[in-house]
């Protein structure tokens, strides 16, 4: 082996990619060639120093942040997969400390039963999805005129007063939408870190199943129906003619302390 041949194999040797035969041949060459030996030594040292310099410490906050986001996206995918099944899907209860919170099933109102499409279908995903969509497209909530109109409507129809902020979250805005045939007012609250939605639905439009009524829980002296389906937590309260649902996908946000409607609970 001559010098050129030996140097042609330099990086493959350093990367431990050269064949055994080539490696032995290079070794024999380096034994008697000081110049090539020097080059091998230098490049080998440069390589290990480079690797040393490129080491990074684990960025724990970044990893935690990504992990949280990824897990909620996976929940979303799981929910999609479950909902694509032909049969009603039993809830899998998460291991949360919400002792008595068994599966909540919010069945659709009679209007929907009539057309037979969603009979016995567990109806929770649209509300969750509406919150996910809102937290990702907060801009559509930033119309202050529209927000003012929705706030007025909610006040007139149900006597509810929306607070501009509560438990660390500020009102981003409100909108009105139809979710699976129900007329829903949705308010988005957030602080850049966490977000939560408040849904106000006329009680006449939805009916609670027996399952749901059985799973009533009391948190801090307030009565809720607590639905926690891995990715999204929903708390239902009934207030006069309205059903109020608060929703958040942020696991660490204490949704039970979020009561942005003045005069309720």
């Amino acid at each position: 082996m001559n010098c050129q041949e030996a140097l042609d194999l330099l990086y493959e040797i350093i990367d431990k990619e050269a064949s055994e035969i080539d490696t032995q041949a290079v070794k024999r060459h380096l034994d008697h060639c000081q110049d090539c030996f020097g080059r091998y030594q230098l490049h080998g040292a440069v390589q290990s120093l480079l690797k040393e310099k490129l080491k990074v410490k684990t960025d724990i906050p970044a990893i935690e942040r990504m992990r949280g986001n990824i897990l909620s996206k996976l929940d979303e995918i799981d929910a999609e997969r479950e909902s694509s099944g032909p049969k009603p899907v039993p809830f899998r209860m998460p291991a949360v400390a919400m002792a008595a919170a068994a599966a909540l099933v919010l069945l659709l109102g009679t209007g929907f039963f009539a057309n037979g499409l969603y009979q016995h279908y567990t109806e929770y995903i649209p509300i969750e999805r509406a919150h996910w969509a809102a937290s990702e497209n907060a801009d559509i909530f930033k119309d202050s005129d529209k927000t003012a109109r929705i706030i007025t409507a909610v006040s007139k129809d149900f006597g509810l007063t929306m607070s501009p902020g509560h438990n660390g979250l500020k009102l981003v805005g409100g909108t009105s939408r139809e979710i699976r045939g129900m007329q829903v007012s949705q308010f988005l609250y957030g602080n850049g870190e966490y977000s939560a939605s408040v849904f106000v639905i006329p009680a006449s439009q939805i009916s609670f199943s027996d399952d749901l009524i059985r799973t009533k829980v009391t948190i801090d002296g307030h009565c809720f129906y607590d639905h926690n389906c891995r990715g999204c937590r929903l708390l239902y309260t009934v207030n006069g003619d309205a059903v109020i649902i608060t929703a958040s996908t942020d696991r660490n946000y204490e949704l039970t302390k979020f009561n942005p409607i003045i005069g309720t609970i």
Binding site: Y11, R39, A62
Partner: protein
């Protein structure tokens, strides 16, 4: 086809156990691919969510880490790499293979010129030099240097011929060495070339 709840839960558990622990490695490579923290976080999240969607396609027992890097590299190439791929300002072939050796040997007094040079160079300087590499070269350099993937693994991850991996790695190295040396000379870490 409908998944049963227990089936979904089982897949989810396997994914969290096998794939998520690679997040740290994916992130450090994503940082060098995208060159900024925000994009790197997005890239990792997008790649892992995509991997979860395709988890059925992953063969149990095969190399999960390489599979995840393949997905991430793919997402990076398709969605993140700079839209305007600037033509390379340096012709790599003009750089002599022995550039580094020649420079260090002639411009240093000590026995271990490379150690002296790197001792003075900050980690960030080296990262910056990597960031300066054109995307095509940077991808293979990062997969090799930071992640220690073999040529064959890199070929599969980046969907390249083995020969292309070798040549890009070689050319990437030459560019990197030149950048580091130029940087060192500019900042007075070592003496400039004597003509």
């Amino acid at each position: 086809m409908a998944d049963t709840t227990s089936n979904i839960a089982r897949k989810r558990q396997a994914f969290e156990k096998e794939a998520l622990p690679h997040m740290d490695a994916l992130y450090r490579t994503a940082l060098r691919m995208t060159k900024n923290v925000g994009d790197a976080e997005d890239l990792v999240q997008e790649a892992l969510v995509k991997a979860y969607r395709f988890w059925d396609k992953f063969e149990t027992g095969s190399n999960c880490r390489a599979w995840l890097f393949k997905i991430m590299t793919n997402v990076f190439i398709n969605e993140y790499r700079s839209k305007s791929r600037s033509p390379m300002s340096v012709n790599v072939d003009d750089i002599d293979d022995n550039y580094l050796y020649g420079q260090l040997a002639t411009n240093s007094d000590g026995d271990n010129p490379e150690k002296e040079l790197f001792a003075k160079m900050l980690d960030d300087d080296v990262k910056k030099a990597i960031d300066e590499l054109p995307d095509d070269f940077r991808i293979v350099v990062v997969l090799s240097f930071i992640e220690g993937f073999s040529y064959q693994e890199i070929a599969e991850i980046a969907d390249l011929q083995l020969g292309t991996v070798k040549s890009r790695l070689h050319r990437g190295r030459k560019l990197l060495q030149k950048e580091l040396l130029d940087y060192a000379i500019r900042n007075g870490l070592i003496k400039g070339p004597q003509k």
